[in-house]
Amino acid sequence: MSSFDNNKGPVLAFFCNWAPYRCLLDLGKSGRSLPRPIHPVKVMCAGRVDASILLYAFEKGVEGVMVIGCKEKECRYGPGPQHTKKMEEHMRGLMGVLGLEPERFSAMNYASSDTDRLFMDIISFLHSISQLDRSPLARGG
């Protein structure tokens, strides 16, 4: 994470209120904090985060977005993870046409005990973004 240039724009991370947010709390309890570029956004269900929300974030110049949801059968509301899967498909397609690198987007599922895996994934996500140029949509970039 030290390789991530702090002058780059923010990275948005949408955390589902249930398992992923529990992981985030556990992360804090264990004395680790989120790397600086990450801006966490808590949502009630990752399934609610649709492509339009992510497109708006990219339009405003974020370097990347993560959608962090619960595991397939553990969604409190039922269809959340399937929604996310569908949205991921759309989003990857749209990013392909826009010419945005696929590394800028990740949609992952976690159980509430997956704190370490989540932390590692965030670090590696940031690392892969740090290999890229600034987003072509970044302000003044």
Binding site: S52, L55, F58, H90, L94, G96, V97, L98, G99
Partner: protein, 383 residues
């Protein structure tokens, strides 16, 4: 008070003071048939009396479909749709600018295309058998089809097919059209939702690409793109060396080989931007009529009803009701296919006919004009 001056200019420019309050606009308006509060006449009246801070104007300005049917009926000829566009631009700095459908994602996609550094990859629809070029006289302006294809993939409409079919038609004429990998959105929807600044940037970028590719004739298969490129891209200060044509106009000019096979009946939905905004009514009808049997809906040509939305703004129960009415009209012609010349009409009407409760009454095959023409070529090949 600082808004008074531009508002007066707009009222002057569009001659809104000349309104005789006859109410023909409201009688004709497809939206007013379902939303009893909406009335173009009242919007004009409130703008004159109270300005743009009137709550009625503030709300209804964003409800208007801008389909231009009222303009068609107005005895004075007040261009109400353009008047609405001008009023919307006055709201450009306001937080409320209508309810954008699809979460505003489509507008985001369009605004992103205004970034100069963006390197799009929009040509994945070009299949190996299609012949296209990088430079040349003819440009095919694809528009937002590659994005819509993905965005509306759940609807089961193949919008990229419009692009492949258009190139196939042009190839038949011996034309290898230029297609730009870095083409930008024409900007129509942004302009009509009050974002003139981004529209200007898109226009600038597109014009640069046109000049670079050395094109002289621009062909589009979309009513909106052709309207914007033809009427809103030229400005008074710079020469505009391009001739813009909708595919149907272009084919009308050329000797396009069409075999008459009137084995199926079609009905035609006039897109507002192609019909009323450009006056292109005959070209698509001649083409369709020469391939298949054309049956007109009750509201057609200059009196055609809207597909329910424009500029991805405010999709609500009124839109749905209008779409259902329109589909029932199309069903009433006993046609096999509903043909349109705008991908958005296709998206809106397909969405309405997929309602699980009404799919039995409403479902009918819907196709773009380009696809119908391209398929007639296929049958020629087989014969």
């Amino acid at each position: 008070m600082d808004q008074l001056e531009p508002l007066h200019q707009i009222i002057d420019e569009f001659q809104v003071f000349h309104c005789v309050e006859c109410g023909k606009c409201t009688g004709a308006c497809p939206l007013a048939q379902v939303d009893l509060e909406f009335s173009p006449r009242l919007v004009a009246k409130h703008v004159i009396e109270e300005g743009i801070n009137s709550p009625y104007v503030r709300e209804k300005t964003w409800f208007c479909l801008t389909c231009g049917l009222c303009h068609e009926r107005c005895p004075i000829g007040i261009p109400f749709a353009h008047f609405i566009r001008a009023i919307r631009l006055l709201y450009a700095r306001e937080p409320y600018r209508g309810h954008l459908s699809h979460g505003g994602g489509l507008q985001s996609l369009m605004r992103m295309q205004a970034a100069r550094k963006l390197r799009q990859d929009r040509l994945d629809w070009v299949t190996p058998e299609l012949r296209v070029s990088m430079e040349g006289e003819f440009l095919y302006f694809v528009g937002c089809l590659p994005y819509f294809e993905i965005f509306f993939s759940d609807l089961g409409v193949s919008l990229k097919k419009i692009a492949t079919d258009t190139v196939r038609i042009l190839n038949t004429l011996g034309i290898e059209p230029v297609v730009l990998s870095d083409e930008r959105c024409c900007g129509h929807d942004l302009l009509w939702t009050g974002d003139e600044e981004t529209f200007d940037r898109l226009r600038q970028l597109n014009l640069e690409s046109f000049h670079k590719a050395g094109v002289r004739t621009i062909i589009t298969a979309c009513g909106e793109c052709s309207y914007v490129l033809k009427q809103l891209y030229p400005d008074s200060t710079n020469p505009f060396p391009f001739e813009v044509m909708h595919l149907s106009e272009f084919l009308q000019k050329t000797d396009f080989p069409i075999e008459k096979k009137r084995d199926r009946a079609v009905t035609y939905q006039d897109p507002c931007r192609l019909g009323r905004f450009q006056g292109v009514y005959d070209a698509p009808r001649q083409l369709l009529g020469s391939i298949l049997e054309l049956r007109e809906m009750r509201h057609s040509a200059a009196g055609a009803w809207c597909c329910g939305n424009s500029a991805w703004l405010g999709c609500d129960r009124y839109s749905k009701q209008m779409q259902v009415e329109r589909l029932l009209e199309a069903q009433g012609t006993q046609s096999d296919i509903l043909v349109t010349a705008c991908p958005k009409c296709q998206v809106h009407l397909t969405c309405a006919m997929r309602d699980v409760n009404r799919v039995q009454d409403l479902y009918m095959e819907i196709k773009d004009l380009a696809s119908v023409i391209a398929e007639s070529l296929e049958r020629d090949d087989a014969a």
